[in-house]
Amino acid sequence: MRYAETGFNLEIDLSRGNIEKVATDPRETELYLGGLGTNAKILWDRVPPEVDPFSPDNLLIFSAGLLCGTPATGCNRTIVSTISPQTRLMGFSMMGGFWAPELKYAGYDKVVLRGKSPKLVYLWINNDKVELRDASHLQGKGAIETAELIRQELDDPRIQVAAIGLAGENRVYFASVEQGRSSASRGGLGAVMGDKGLKAIAVRGTNDINVARPEEFIELCNEVLDYIKWREEHPIPGVMPILAGLGSPQEMKIHDEKWHTENFSWGNSRVRRKGFWTEEIAKQWTETMESARRRLISCFNCPMKCGATIQMPGLPTYMMKCFTKLTYTMAAFSDLEFGLKIAQKATEYGVDGFSTPQVMAFAIELYEDGILTDKDMPGFPEGNEERFYWLLDKIVRREGIGDILADGTYWAAKKIGKGAEKYAHNTIKKHEQLPLKLSMLNPIYFLMYCTGEKINITQIEGQFPQAPFPKREQREEFVKDWFQVPDEKFKQYFLDWEPRGENSIPFYPTVEMTCDIVDWQEMMHYIDDALGMCAGLSSFPLKPPYHIHNYPKFISAGAGIEMDEESLKQAARRYRTLVRAINIRRGMRRKDEKPPEDHWKKRFPELEKKLLDTYYRYKGWNEEGIPTKETLENLGLDYVSRDFLKRGILKEGEESSTEQSAAGNEQQ
């Protein structure tokens, strides 16, 4: 008997309309856990680097995490993986909501899609009955609208639907997969879904998910719930309110936006507006939010209320979460009312709330500077807000200039030329980032931006405070009950971290400390993504209920895979390295590992080089960022090292010389 997982994947060939239920190998679960881990294994095995993102041979995988469907609170994430059309690397984005547990109850851990359907279809998974159904009547429909229409058509309100909107159908490089409350937005997964001719996946399941050691498992769940209750009553003092509690940053609940509006950049991520947050604006925005918000809502089996149903006058209700609240507003130098209105359209179209506003603000800047002209954009309106609606429509339809912008700022700038590249300044690995422009280089964030292969800062940061607390007494107070740390040394790192002076950024935390901190932060995200746990209860917030000390117990009691901290760390290292291997095989190298170019004003090339050199070594990668033969073999990834040697990515004997020179550097 398989515990926590079902032991079956659905393999769908959209070209031939073939559907198979395939038993999976339990040894793969032991090695790669599930979710992201086993997705990476499938992509490595079946999608060689020659395969184009829009080739029928590219796979699109919807996976539930290993513990989804068990009573583990907040474990509800779907991990969607493919080769991204924008970055040309492995794209993976997670969504909460209700879809993954429903898939488990239907009897499957993953849906693996290949090929391309000759006409638009949707997949209907109803326990053992799985079919591809005609979706021609859903063509052009909004993502939320589609979900409603499918529920009506199949006559069951409990069906969970993940769907694309017009943007996905038209292969916009930053198209999302929407699922009502949640979305898998980053990396253009929706474009691959549209390319495959798949409008939606509807799922309904009424089967059991078993756990290996029931009493032990429920005890762990109850401990987590008790801790969540306690933690909600004890917000962390001294940090901003959206980060004081658990969950995603509480954007739907908290009205004070001083921090975002004054520290994040407006427009095409250029302009800081100090002093923006006046009493008048606070009042106006609070009123807007209060009247738009119908209810704070949760994902499956989670007490946090990170999302909300939003109803703007005259527009259909939609659901929102987190920072999309402000991205459109700030890109357009507008107000919250505009942001919430255009987000309704954007959600139905199915586009990423980080990339889309940035792409539109980029276009407006190019127009203002004469690089794009009325000839390129016939009919471009005069009014600022109208321009954003106009651009959004053009992009999702790929009409005129929209066809170029729909590839994102990096590719669009290349096509437009005339110096447009300078305007596509806020990307890493060709993917748009949060609009943040700061002064002093932060070594922790430097490494995270450079090496994070989820290509999104919020998906690697967390746990360790974003900034030092001003007073030592505050720091002492903070570390008192900080039991989540993997090692006591992290407490000392934080205690000695000062806002100013010798022990401040960029030279403190030291290079070695920075490596430890970044590795811990990243590891927790990777564990979450394999288990299906929401980052909001684990890797993202300070002092979360899930951590490296209780996760092995959850996996042992839940999935029946004996695990301790060391073996869990080793498993996470294994599939984290496999993700890197997929990207290395697709050409990613050290040159691609850079923060957004003007993210910090004050840069330190020597320190940055040392950080990257040391971290690569720490991770067991050579100076190009390629995992060495020895590293791969230690992780049981011999098949990767053989492939690397065959392709000439690694050369026999090369890594030892790298090790030697690295050691030599250290002695200097």
Binding site: P71, P157, I228, R295, C302, P303
Partner: protein
């Protein structure tokens, strides 16, 4: 002869449901189905849960309903309720396990499910797991008048009439069958 009326104290168990506080997470369904699994907590499946959240986020409808009695026939007519401008089907509030819907039936056998208030626990576990406080457990004492004798007398009269009509053996068979199905 009229039986003497007897005053008796009885504990009434209630779950107070605040639909305004429900966030639709369905943790109640999760823990209910886990608790009632055999062995306890060994599996989980909301379709087996004795509490279901009627959930339509776009219409802002969130109603946790827990399973009551089984009924053989569905209602002849169905009403609609409009509360705070939101239209609810009357089934949204109905606790019956009924032919008109799949809720409150074992998915495999179709046998009806009924909430047992997690007998033996301090409080029903759906309440414990609802951190939104949409479900609040309350116990209240009520004094009820029990007319035990009279009830028995009534029962006897009724049964005699039925025995006269169908024959005693048929009544016994039926009672035996019904108690088995319980």
């Amino acid at each position: 002869m009229k039986a003497e009326k007897e005053k008796k104290k009885k504990i009434i168990k209630t779950i107070r449901i605040d639909v305004d506080k429900c966030n639709g997470c369905r943790a109640c369904e999760v823990i209910c189905s886990a608790y009632h699994a055999d062995p306890k907590y060994s599996s989980n499946n909301p379709a087996r849960s004795r509490i279901r959240v009627i959930r339509e986020p776009l219409r802002d409808i969130y109603v946790p309903v827990y399973a009551g009695e089984y009924t053989v026939a569905e209602c002849a007519g169905r009403d609609k309720y409009i509360i705070d401008g939101k239209e609810y089907d009357e089934c949204s509030f109905c606790r019956a396990s009924c032919p008109s819907r799949v809720d409150f039936k074992e998915p495999d056998s179709g046998l009806p499910l009924k909430c047992d208030m997690c007998e033996g626990e301090d409080e029903p576990l759906c309440v414990k797991w609802c951190l939104a406080d949409a479900l609040i457990y309350e116990e209240r004492e009520e004094e009820i008048e029990e007319e035990v004798e009279e009830e028995v007398e009534d029962l006897e009269v009724g049964l005699e009439a039925l025995a006269g009509k169908y024959g005693m053996q048929k009544i016994l068979d039926t009672v035996a069958r019904m108690s088995k199905e319980g």
